[in-house]
Symmetry: C2
DNA sequence: GTTACATTTAACCAGTTAGTTAAACTAATT
DNA sequence: AATTAGTTTAACTAACTGGTTAAATGTAAC
């Protein structure tokens, strides 16, 4: 297993660390567990990442890096509002399906230490969703959309996508969903959210 | 300070423990900090609550006890759908305004140990939101509401209420809200959510 | 004034955990 | 053959943390 400059080891460590941190959080995760899970020993773990803080930092930055570009990329594109919302919902849900603990992890660690957000943003180009917000504002002005605050709408869309992943145990209990049911629920949800939001947004003549 | 069977001490401990657990989670909270924050010493803390687990259990049960009755009480009442949704949104947001970390705390700890939910439910009467779900189903059948899965609607409502509290740092950054702005945002949100949902739900003839 | 409980003090124990160290081993590089 | 870097082993430390203990003190009730 001892090969020169083995990339596998580092990525195995990162995968193991991701699993541990996402599931247990910084405080709950154990370096020994991460080493075991990566199939190496503590000494080598510290050889690659000097400290738990540094390892966590790497994982957390990566998590944030996955989260922001999605939303920003879609929101700043040239689609019209309806297409943009649909795309955003689909992208978000697909991404969270593959990283179920991602949202919960970011939220928890960000609440513990909100400064991390600013630390992350330093150096990075992090455009804000101005374009989408303006599109909504214009639609409202032209009486094409119901009078809604653009920021409120954005939060509502994101909330509906992210929440069920974070509150999975509660949702499953309240709606009596098996694990299979839950997957179905999430898949259906793409259309349900899109329809509810767009229909709620659109002005219709009575 | 040493009075007979002093209730103050226990409630001071519980308040301090709540603060600590809500903010740092089980793993992050320290018994020493809780004792300090309660203005007592570790020995007395263990005199009241034998262990960290027991103290946590008390706080967690209390948190869940605050969370469920709200939603169930409203959802199983006799109001019509529109009034019910409005009431639910207002009740939730008011409650979370006074306990900003409550949702984040429950979500995090429940994800770490989903069995806690079942443990909590044992012995407690925990009705499910069947009535509300049926009201929606009937409305859909009668073409009064748009064709939506009742469970999806319920999750969407709750998501929109809870999410901004959990994701506060992110929301504040993305929308450039000061702390004051955020409070305003939340207050406005009551109407925005209610309107968006009800308008999105209602069938209108074109 | 004695009893009973609440509280403090301060030291202490035992287990856990992040992180270190040094020696030996492995395999590709030169 | 010598070099170099990745890796293992195993023992160790230093700090932290949950929890305990025992002795002393305070305070109200009986």
């Amino acid at each position: 297993m001892a090969t020169h400059k083995d990339e596998k080891t580092e990525s195995r460590i990162k995968l193991a660390a991701q699993k541990a941190f996402h599931k247990k959080g910084f405080d709950g995760a154990r370096m020994q567990d991460i080493a075991d899970s990566a199939g190496i020993n503590k000494a080598l773990l510290h050889y690659y990442f000097r400290s738990k803080d540094q390892l966590f930092h790497t994982i957390f930055q990566e998590a944030l890096g996955k989260f922001f570009p999605i939303i920003i990329g879609v929101l700043e594109s040239d689609m019209d509002v309806e297409a943009k919302i649909e795309k955003l919902v689909h992208t978000y849900i697909d991404h969270l399906t593959q990283n179920p603990m991602l949202a919960s992890f970011i939220i928890h660690e960000l609440n513990q230490n909100p400064e991390r957000l600013k630390a992350f943003l330093i150096g990075k180009k992090v455009p804000k969703p101005e374009k989408f917000l303006q599109q909504i504002a214009i639609g409202v002005e032209q009486k094409q959309f119901m009078p809604i605050a653009p920021g409120q709408l954005l939060v509502s869309i994101v909330a509906q996508c992210i929440f069920p992943f974070m509150a999975r145990p509660m949702v499953q209990f309240m709606l009596s969903l098996s694990d299979k049911d839950f997957d179905l629920f999430i898949e259906q949800r793409k259309k349900e959210i899109t329809d509810l939001i767009i229909h709620g947004l659109t002005v219709r003549k009575s």
